[in-house]
Symmetry: C2
Subunit: 279 residues, 2 copies
Amino acid sequence: MVSKAGQQTFGSACALRRAVRAGLMRSDTAGKAPGYLQGNLAILPKAFAPDFLLFCHKNPKPCPVIGIGEAGSPALPQLGDDIDIRIDVPGYRVFRGGNDFESAEDLKEMWRDDLVTFVLGCSFSFEEALASAGIPVRHIDAGRNAPMYMTSIDTVPAGPFKGPLVVSMRAFKPTDAIQAVLLSARQRLAHGAPVHIGDPAQIGIADIMRPDFGDTPVMEEGDIPVFWACGVTPQIAIRTCGADLAITHEPGHMLVTDIPAEAAENRLSGIGAALAINR
Amino acid sequence: MVSKAGQQTFGSACALRRAVRAGLMRSDTAGKAPGYLQGNLAILPKAFAPDFLLFCHKNPKPCPVIGIGEAGSPALPQLGDDIDIRIDVPGYRVFRGGNDFESAEDLKEMWRDDLVTFVLGCSFSFEEALASAGIPVRHIDAGRNAPMYMTSIDTVPAGPFKGPLVVSMRAFKPTDAIQAVLLSARQRLAHGAPVHIGDPAQIGIADIMRPDFGDTPVMEEGDIPVFWACGVTPQIAIRTCGADLAITHEPGHMLVTDIPAEAAENRLSGIGAALAINR
């Protein structure tokens, strides 16, 4: 996501995380540290970690793994030297065995030595690439969040993790849509190529103007809607997995990593497969 | 284009060209020498060659240059050791200063020492890549030619060469359309990524079921139409350039080269820029 006019930005991911730690930054991270890879957060007890990793591998488009912590450790050295996942994300959602959640500003009190942190790629770096290519991203230009929809497409289940594929939608004029397909395909860790283009009804979306999450879409005359797998997918799957504790970020309030977005594909590809989970 | 069931195929491009020379092969070349790069033909007097090359460079999607001959020479050593362009194409169209043409089986009598041969990439190798990826190409499966349309998009003119962009259309289910965008983008010499997707009216196509060239399209429920720049574009431009003699191939009756289609992008990219025209 690109900088909106007049919004606060930070010169580095590290500077942004320091502001979060100091309680000076509690808003969404979209466009706040341009050029740095951001990620979705999922924290689960280690008993659930192997199945969740399997779920991510079976559903790589909604769940591109960019980092995994050791059980009990709040560090993620592969994503930033000094990351402490308990205090570096500007907003958390804490689930205790169901769909209800409480919001939290940090995880210091609730941290446990069996918690495993997963960081999954998000669409922000892909949206930066679109903007760099001169392709309007309409919800950003309108100061809105992307519209997101539950679909009739099922994820591939793994253990207790299952549920519908959630997609985000961006509308473009057709020539830009073709470029968006090409640019996004290069960013496998930012959900890769789209999963659908055109008719929303084909993937179970009854009314494109009424998304399940995010904001009302911005569409112009002649636009074609393009749908990408969305990081909300694993968050839905986590809610029903049966864990007594599961933690995600507040939507849009991402972990900002030290990885330059442009280098992410080379540096982090295959990281999920290479890491063993410390059971 | 892939082999249709039961059709004649040749084990090599060279074998196919020998059959053409012997008068044993006068039909279209689609799928007849799988794996070999095929090309559209344009032969012009050398006075027109610099502007035509400029036209190709200004319009690289419809006119990807894969080979250029020396003035007066029927050889194209970069595309095949023994090519004689006067006798190696199974059907020619000869224009003498207008839209009317005569058909010819060879160019032996009409060859002149001021003629320059251009070979331009065609969509066959891209269609082979789609079929290899398991993506149905509906007109091939139906034994038809691709539907082609004049559009409201103008080419970039160069000297006397100008005219509308002609596109070919292939319809896919949306997930296949996304893959088709990605696969075709890798084949710049086979027209590259599409120029349009979705609503035909946006590019001036009034009725998708009534193409200007080729056959009636095959579309299935839920399909989305995808449009690629087409090699008919330069053929239209050639007809009005004012040359007293211009020669193209019969549609579908291509020059089959010795270049393996998979290696074409590496071997031939930039060839247009690297070659000097022998004025």
